[in-house]
């Protein structure tokens, strides 16, 4: 290609304004604003929130929610195990992010690290959904309070269906709102990375 070869011929003859050693010294003291830094910060917040919500669910399930013991045990185990496992996986994957890797490897490693936290968030949201469903069911249908009252006595199939529908709509709204914010945030942050990653991936197809 003639035009490109002409540019190639003069490529090294282009003079750019010189950055002084003094300015370089100043630059290395500055903080990075890279996408990976933001992914790290947001992931840490997500892991911390996951851990906090796990602890909160644990506390609530024992004190207020009146859940069956098998569910309490499941929540207790998962509330501790899941954040620990995913924090370990996250840090292990994060360490593989290296700017001296090839472009494809770097993109793969960033996306893999991101996927770990994405899985963690989705598992946590699923757990929250299960908790909302069971907690709503038990709170509305089991005798509770000082007078052992039942908030919503179920006598007909219609009652069951209405209750199921209410719980379903409520759960969908809560989880849907969380997912919307989550994917909007990451959609913006990961757009460039995903686009470049897909372009390289398509070459192998």
């Amino acid at each position: 290609m003639e035009e490109l070869d002409k540019l190639k011929k003069n490529w090294n003859a282009t003079i750019h304004p010189k950055v002084s050693a003094k300015s370089i010294y100043k630059m290395i003291l500055k903080k990075s604003s890279s996408a990976v830094k933001w992914i790290f910060i947001i992931s840490m917040i997500e892991l911390a929130l996951g851990l906090t919500s796990g602890v909160l669910l644990l506390t609530n399930s024992e004190n207020e929610l009146n859940l069956p013991s098998w569910l309490e045990t499941t929540v207790t185990i998962s509330g501790i195990l899941i954040p620990v496992i995913y924090s370990y996986k996250f840090f292990r994957n994060y360490q593989t992010i290296n700017t001296t890797s090839s472009v494809k490897e770097l993109l793969n490693n960033i996306i893999k690290t991101r996927k770990t936290v994405k899985q963690f968030v989705l598992i946590n949201l699923s757990l929250i959904a299960v908790m909302i469903i069971f907690a709503s069911y038990y709170t509305l249908t089991m005798p509770m309070g000082v007078n052992n009252e039942i908030a919503y006595p179920l006598t007909t199939i219609k009652d069951y269906l209405i209750l199921a529908l209410v719980i379903l709509i409520f759960t969908t709204i809560v989880i849907g709102a969380c997912l919307f914010i989550y994917f909007l945030l990451y959609g913006i942050l990961m757009r460039k990375l995903n686009k470049n990653h897909n372009e390289l991936k398509q070459l192998d197809l």
Partner: protein, 164 residues
Amino acid sequence: MDKELEHSFVTQLEKHQNIIHKVCRLYTNNQDAHNDLFQEVTIQLWRAFPKFRGEAKFSTWMYRIALNTAITLYRKSKRRIQTNDIADFNFKIKSEEYDDTEEEQLKLMYSAIKQLSDIEKALIFLYLEEKNYKEISETMGISEVNARVKMNRAKGKLKKILNP
């Protein structure tokens, strides 16, 4: 980090800074963004410098980090400027043989390259740096065959942009 390491880094970077400028030139559309990307590349290079063993040339090591920063790490400013707004860019050609028409052609060429994808820009950059396909495939992490295919597509795309 000790002063000696800092001094060694700054000295080498000052000497080879044109590599970063050339990457910034292809990936940004205005002087502010150019300076911003230059700084981010410098920070990433400095972070990686303690692990730089000197097995590869400093300049080769710089190519990777500079391209990786431009393609994956750098977050563009919200204010997107059109590709033909590059006239205010402060660059000149050393060669005396270069006349105004050729400088105009060069600007058009830069403008066309800026319309390529990030990956295609990287391939064109490595081509302009006279890297062979083995080096290009290693830097990009793709096979030599795929590097050739992608390069030909990028050149074809440039041709179409320049001769619509």
